[in-house]
């Protein structure tokens, strides 16, 4: 059963009761909240995700609730917790929905040292994945959002997850977090995409969440393999250029962007090494999204092998 088969009342009841339970690729999540205002947009963000039965193992039991006391009424706040642990200070209550996404990302990075996790977007075509590691402001999320509206499968806009045993990528197909100007850019670029109302004045500026395309969600458990590492940089007025990157530099870029490279120690070194070996590496500068799409289209049409074992 999928989330969009629930009525709004059922979504609301699950949030305030036993929890809204969805599968997001390798992680099963249960969300509880006493903030009814988030229900409709949460259901929109996860419309095509599989609902979990009451007997299934939950990886992250999270809650986003109104802060108690005066904060319930005056400048109301929302508090994120995972199984009773509160990793963040509260935020204004209108940020409750993005907070769920930030919180889930925190859970994944805090509790998942059985995989290599890169701070990078990942999108795939025909089982081959482009990894887009980049610092904030580089246009990584914009590029990722544009690509998944042009037939690329969304794995994640924020966390590239790589199995340590097989080297395969794991997709999440959760909503894409867009910030500031890129919200307008993507809304114009992909008018069919579903967005939440923008939330202003967060620490990242204005944010809006774009739901993952239905096809990405339905393919979430299909295998995907790392094939390209592309370090994007948006620069106003720049012409589109894709430049090969030496392997040594690529290793350092990937290691720098790995959330748990240092925790995995020797295994992390091996995993990043394997990943570098599996991929072609580029740096990419762009200002025009349409031109950027063509470059990625060419990448995808180049012949390449996909391992057949999982």
């Amino acid at each position: 059963m999928r989330v969009n088969q629930l009525s709004p009342a059922q979504v609301l009841a699950s949030l305030s009761g036993g929890g809204f339970r969805v599968a997001t690729g390798p992680f099963n999540c249960r969300v509880q909240s006493d903030i009814p205002a988030i229900a409709a947009e949460l259901a929109q963000n996860y419309a095509h995700h599989r609902l979990l039965g009451p007997e299934e193992f939950i990886d992250f039991h999270i809650a986003v609730n109104s802060s108690r006391g005066l904060r319930r009424w005056i400048r109301p706040q929302a508090l994120f917790s995972v199984d009773g642990v509160e990793p963040f200070t509260p935020l204004p209550r209108n940020q409750a929905l993005p907070m769920i996404e930030w919180g889930l990302n925190w859970c994944i990075t805090a509790y998942s040292n059985h995989v290599l996790i890169l701070h990078a977007a990942a999108v795939a075509r025909n089982g081959r994945t482009v990894i887009l590691p980049a610092p904030p402001g580089s246009g990584k999320s914009t590029l990722c959002a544009a690509l998944v509206n042009r037939g690329w499968r969304l794995l994640s806009d924020e966390l590239s997850i790589i199995r340590l045993d097989t080297g395969a990528m794991l997709g999440l197909a959760r909503p894409v977090n867009l910030k500031n100007a890129s919200i307008d850019v993507i809304q114009r670029f992909a008018p069919q995409a579903l967005f939440t109302e923008p939330v202003h004045d967060t620490t990242k500026g204005t944010v809006a969440l774009m739901a993952a395309p239905q096809a990405s969600v339905e393919a979430v458990d299909e295998p995907a393999w790392p094939a390209w590492m592309v370090l994007p940089r948006y620069r106003a007025g720049a012409s589109t250029s894709l430049t090969p990157m030496p392997r040594g530099e690529a290793f350092m870029k990937i290691a720098d962007n790995a959330m748990n490279y240092h925790i995995l120690a020797a295994e992390g070194f091996r995993a990043v090494g394997d990943l570098v070996d599996r991929c072609q590496h580029f740096s990419f500068e762009y200002s025009d999204l349409e031109e950027a799409m063509q470059v990625f289209e060419q990448l995808a049409s180049a012949p390449g092998d996909v391992p057949c074992t999982v």
Partner: protein
């Protein structure tokens, strides 16, 4: 009995767990800081293949994090050894760091927030300067807190490695000087033993290591890691007691060190909670089997709640009260202000006593 405790007592129980049981077990173990240890336990008994993927990932993730910390601790130990060697002092590791560098079973899956070391009190100022010179910076504290630590506590304000972030507690004894029990720090240092293969790095001798662990456990005011600390003790005792003169030595040492109270409690709860094979001669020598008087029944009541994994699923009406009592007791044992005494004594004697008998039944082993 919590699911975590059931599994710690009988590992084979995991073969019959449902997905929901696993869900609960992972959460309880995470809250008790025992998730990585659970992984190592099941691995040691060849049971990992019986663990479904999802809980397996969570446990492995915790074990990987513990491994990483162990690597860091061994790394820091080399630096600290060299720093102390320049003052002609050995590095004496306490608690988790001692288990890890000494390669003891209590290191299994153990995570910790800081490293603890022991130095002679009269050498503290030199040690502190040498540490600062090698990049260990003290916490920023106001004057009152500085004085509080230096005058009343058994350790310097926490230090942190400026390059690597490691936290360090420098102790000159194992209990605050104001505590009512007065273990002999000089004897602890004198009788410390070198770790094989680690020239210049020492741990307390086995009996003292057990006494320190017990002492820490039963002066602790925070409930969150109590079950983990009890599990440390369980692993230490199972390991050291292979030597036939260990138990008589431990009992005798507890008497000379003025640490019979914590050992007595430790042995009682080790048997009750983790089924630790403590010989009856040792239990009898300390009269550990029977709770004496009202105060000890109150303690039994408090520890029956706080030695559970501190997770919502094990909580009942008395848990918040017990956590608070433990906190208050921790302070009470560390310092003797009379006003506090009167206030707390009334709380400890009157409050919970009226309910203890019924509540104790629920979590009986």
């Amino acid at each position: 009995m919590s699911l975590l405790r059931q599994v710690l007592l009988d590992r084979r129980r995991i073969v019959a767990l449902s997905a929901l049981d696993w869900d609960l077990l992972v959460r309880q173990a995470r809250h008790a800081n025992l998730l990585g240890r659970l992984y190592r336990c099941l691995q040691a008994e060849g049971l990992l293949s019986q663990v479904p993927d999802r809980p397996h990932h969570h446990m492995k993730s915790a074990a990987v994090m513990a491994d990483r910390q162990h690597m860091l601790v061994r790394y820091e130990a080399r630096f600290l050894r060299d720093t102390l060697a320049s003052l002609g002092l050995p590095l004496i590791l306490l608690k988790g760091a001692a288990y890890v560098v000494g390669d003891l079973p209590a290191a299994s899956g153990r995570v910790f927030a800081d490293m603890d070391i022991l130095v002679p009190r009269e050498r503290l100022p030199e040690v502190e300067s040498a540490l600062i010179m090698t990049g260990w910076l003290g916490e920023k504290l106001d004057e009152y807190d500085q004085r509080y630590y230096r005058q009343w506590m058994h350790e310097l304000p926490a230090m942190q490695q400026m390059h690597r972030g490691t936290a360090l507690d420098v102790h000159h004894t194992i209990l605050p000087p104001t505590a009512r029990l007065k273990p002999d720090a000089q004897a602890l240092i004198r009788d410390s033993v070198e770790i094989p293969g680690w020239s210049g790095v020492r741990t307390l001798q086995p009996t003292d290591m057990v006494l320190h662990s017990a002492c820490h456990l039963f002066h602790e005011g925070e409930s969150d890691n109590l079950l983990r600390d009890l599990s440390d003790l369980d692993l230490l005792l199972r390991h050291f007691s292979v030597s036939p003169d260990f138990w008589p030595g431990l009992i005798a040492r507890a008497a000379t060190m003025d640490l019979q109270m914590p050992l007595r409690l430790a042995l009682r709860y080790l048997v009750q909670v983790l089924d630790c094979p403590v010989p009856s001669s040792a239990l009898q020598a300390l009269k550990a089997e029977r709770s004496d008087g009202v105060a000890e029944h109150v303690l039994d009541f408090v520890y029956s709640r706080t030695l559970r994994p501190q997770h919502a699923s094990t909580r009942d009406w008395a848990t918040p009260l017990c956590r608070k009592l433990l906190y208050v007791r921790g302070h009470f044992l560390r310092m003797p202000p009379h006003l506090l005494f009167v206030h707390l004594a009334r709380k400890a004697w009157v409050g919970p006593r009226t309910v203890s008998a019924a509540a104790l039944q629920q979590d009986a082993p």
